[in-house]
Symmetry: D3
Subunit: 257 residues, 6 copies
């Protein structure tokens, strides 16, 4: 069979061997969400999967099939779920999916699990799913499953930020469709990026609170919260290297590898 | 941007144009499930997505990102969910996912939706999700959304079956990991098939009822319910052509295209 | 007290003796669903209960009170839930009911449980309920509860079918309100059958997929999917004998009796 | 077809005529609960159904198929759910069942619905189910469905109580398995009553609060909270007449008949 | 730190000492519900908290932070939830809250828990929450948590009733906004009572059943079901003393203190 | 009656007048969570309520009774829910509570609602509750309810931060039990603060990801993530003034007042 870190590419017999060897399993979590006129709806799926793949290569981990659909896009971090194309799940469904995957992997014998999140809005719901799963495992007497929750941008260090954003860093919340994601996509899936369609706008100025229902007028027409015009594949390489290196270190440390 | 029938490859602006033109949206539904030693865990995702893609090309439809994880594998149709590698969701989560996707697509303005199912066990739960979504749309005064539910093998006609199974057809329920799926994988993803690992066994003999918890001894050791040894890419082509042609006809007929 | 295989007729003290003796418990599952102009809404309740009663007599089992309301009638197997009279539950409620009954019987000390299903649409939801219950019992350290899931018509063998349908068998899915159910009702509850109201129609021709919302025009006006005109009490006796004999064999085999 | 007030005995076509005529529908709600050594587990199903039948005869109503399984038996009104034989549902399932039945009957066109409850513990959960159903109907613009909730013993007037309990009335909460239920069963289902097995005990003395888990020692060994020894079929007739008359008056008054 | 029986006033370190000493924890349960023109919306919160406080002083217990919002006001015991100001939760939320609090206190090491209910409509839903929590604790092997459920008025004895209601007792169900609650509020929170706004009406005459949707005309315009005009702080003292004394006795008896 | 901005202090008649005048309603959301050895478990309830009260005074708003119990404490923002004393709800319960309160206030006629959150971990679950409520209101044809979500510390501006933290600002996530909360408590509830019990530690150094189950060793023994030693009532006044002023501005702007 193929040699792959991606669990979904492996046959069950090969997968069982890897699990028996104690391989951690990384679960990419994305979303189907508008990412402006220059990138596809699946950016968060593609990037979380690529990040997980890079981390898996260096940690002997497997990458589970991604959670494709995520929690609702919010106006302050993703443009808002009122935008056509963004296709999202309720909190209860995200929670239940995360819970089930932890329980299923634990049933397989996996003891080291990490979610590699690529969509800000998912985080707290993944947390709840993991917490519920671990509670249920405790009822069953299983105490040794450990689960990490990582959003990949949280592993880009300050040095990299200073290097990548010489004119100032808008903050991760405004990076929706901006330099981070566009650079990574240019590196990893250039055919899916149309740089000539980038809306080169200043970073959106958004309130420090949410108002629902969404007010369409506060999201830039492109749906991006900052400009991806300065994105390059080289920056994507830096981002991929730094973020994955940070995650590799964290996983090795926590999982004692 | 790229020309693609796959919604997940499109940017939101292009997607909006296609939806405004009235394009149906097809949702592939798979599972992460063991498929024997010769095929990967993602067979049902890959095949439902390929089937939906073929149908979309001929009907002007879009293909949504797949539902990757599905309902629990059952012993009489998929070997059983006790097998390591099969990674499944509870009914409630499958139902909620199907419901949410119908509601989200309806919010986008889509009025013609079809689920293209590639995992037998999903069907009734997709049905419930669709029914609940349409009930909620009715409350909102939206009456014109129509949803088809199709399992792709139900569109392989009797002539094709006679041609493909000259020694007798074991029935779709025993086709788990058998000629149907192996042939399609040989056609579509040959690098993911290891024909030298096929377990060439007679079709499993299974009871006309279920017993839970699963009895591992009644599932063949390979996890396949019949042999894929007679599979060929040519048979895969026949299956793809016939099944997709049947679905194209059905969609055109129901959606008045 | 009365001598009865029906748990609902027994006082609790007598029931406790039977459970202490290791009696299996069979749970009939029906529906309140239109069955044409010639049969009552409760056909599936009456027949599943009668089948369970016949099986209980030969296996020393008890029959629990029936699950009266079932999952939504579907157009390809029951005419569709849009028809007035059909009174159905959501999937979540069917699942929860099945789960609770397994857990309650297990609490009583019952270790051998079988659902005797009389309404096609219930099956997958009963399966999920059983699976969830067994999962919860495992958490509690109870490993020895086993549950069978049987739809009674799946135990009518090919010889009986050939004998009962000399002009060809339409398939169980089209047997809604047809020869099978009408014959059994003529045998068991003749006062509730009006043979002069049978709609003698050819079997319905239905698609190989579902479309929701239901299209009323594809269900025959009677609500039956094939004709019950050829039904007789004698055929009912054959059906009762064969199906119950098949279930008796299965129960004895699985439950080691 | 048969002439019957019981919806479950009617064919769908006859049922539709009755609904089109504006017939109210009464839903009996029981439980499967121990009722001492002298009465069967189904007392609450049988009595709620009989009460509803009597009321239906005098109000032109139909009686829906009963809700057979009810909420957990409580120690202060039913002996407690720890007792083997009592087979109960969680609150969520009782609520969902009641909600679904209201919605289904409303879909049929029924506008006057009454629950006839025969198991004390069900009441508040039926209330919630009805409230949720009416909330959903309001969303759909349906404002004219009205639902009554009745426990049949609440319609036995003080005069009847004085007549039937010459030595003092223990209170409805202690009437579990006592004179009320035993008398009605002697009238309606004498073959299911074993008067020689009545435990002739003084009324149980129970606290004014609940303690969970149940303390088995405070429930009398018989499972009855007072003695049924003074029960007679004549008293059953008085109870049936008074309770049903009270319910008939209430229904006529509320439903303007 | 402060000396207080109220857990919410204590720092976590002090709380831990008290729990380690085996202190029971009492959970007040109220509602935000109209209580006529003369009392605030929070009467049930204030009184359940005061009752719990009084009981805690005499039993060495702690009082948890109150459950503030409760189940829907019902027309026969609280005027009905259609009244503006009454702000209520669905049954599922009340159940889940009660369940979680039991599980959280059990996690802390608390083994003696009592709910002190101040809103009639909450009771059965608290019961279910407790039952579900204890079920889950059993799965985890925790068998020694015991939970009492008390509505404080059930501990006012007949002597006190005769003394406090010389002109006849209307029944606890009609005491909504009447002498009981008004007297206790005059004693405990006189600044929140406006005796000049009491509606001095005869007790409401209500049916022995519920009808939904609510009929506003059967609730007195004040929203109170009986008059609070005869209320005095002295009566409040009697009520507080008797009810708390009864609860103290019950807790000491059940919890072996 | 009393003059109060707190809805829970008002009688229903006065409340109705205020709602009829178009008053916004602010909902404080807290938690019962350890806040070190020097502050009580109810800090988040007290502060969110005080903040809401201050905002209400300047905007003509009412303050609803608080949501007392909140989502689970997380190790990176609150020390972790493994700590005894922290008493939390599952996500589903927080979501359902927020949803219900929006629906109930909307039923009262309130059209301007704001959550004033005092516990970081609540935010995303409140968001989901609000989103679900607005979705249900849309089904009912109610389009004009608007809801703000505010965490009060997000309104402390950079100038105030520079003034209050001359030695550097640790970040809001580490402010659990630190200068912010301690200063506000010293201002508002000094009797509940024991400055001699403050653990004067450097800010905790926490990872950029979560690991579950919690690792107790990474939370400082005090349960606080930074030191409150530099807290003063004067700083509390600055914080109260700035945060409430920011919220007042936001509310006036969004609600057009």
């Amino acid at each position: 069979m193929v040699r792959s870190v991606f669990m979904e590419d492996l046959d069950a017999f090969t997968y069982r061997e890897r699990v028996a060897d104690g391989a951690p399993v990384l679960i990419p979590v994305g979303s189907i969400e508008q990412h402006g006129p220059h990138m596809p709806l699946s950016v968060d799926v593609l990037l979380s999967k690529a990040m997980a793949g890079a981390v898996a290569e260096h940690t002997g981990s497997l990458v589970a099939a991604p959670i494709v659909y995520g929690y609702k896009s919010q106006q302050r971090s993703g443009g808002g779920n009122h935008l056509t194309g963004s296709t999202s799940l309720d909190a209860a469904t995200v929670i239940a999916t995360a819970k089930s995957l932890v329980l299923e992997l634990a049933r397989h014998g996996v003891r080291k699990i990490a979610f590699v999140n690529g969509h800000y809005e998912n985080y707290q719901f993944l947390y709840e799913g993991v917490d519920l799963a671990l509670g249920e495992l405790r009822l069953a007497g299983t105490q040794d499953v450990r689960v990490m929750l990582m959003s990949y941008w949280d592993f880009v260090d300050d040095d990299a930020i200073a290097e990548l954003y010489p004119d100032g860093f808008p903050g991760w919340d405004l990076e929706h469709g901006g330099v981070l994601e566009t650079s990574l996509m240019l590196l990893l899936h250039p055919a899916l990026v149309a740089m000539d369609r980038v809306a080169d706008i200043p970073p959106a100025v958004l309130p420090t609170y949410d108002l629902l229902p969404a007010r369409p007028e506060i999201t830039p027409p492109s749906g991006c919260l900052s400009s991806g015009a300065a994105a390059t594949a080289d920056k994507g390489q830096v981002l991929l290297d730094r973020a994955s290196a940070g995650m590799v270190t964290a996983i090795r440390s926590e999982f004692g590898m």
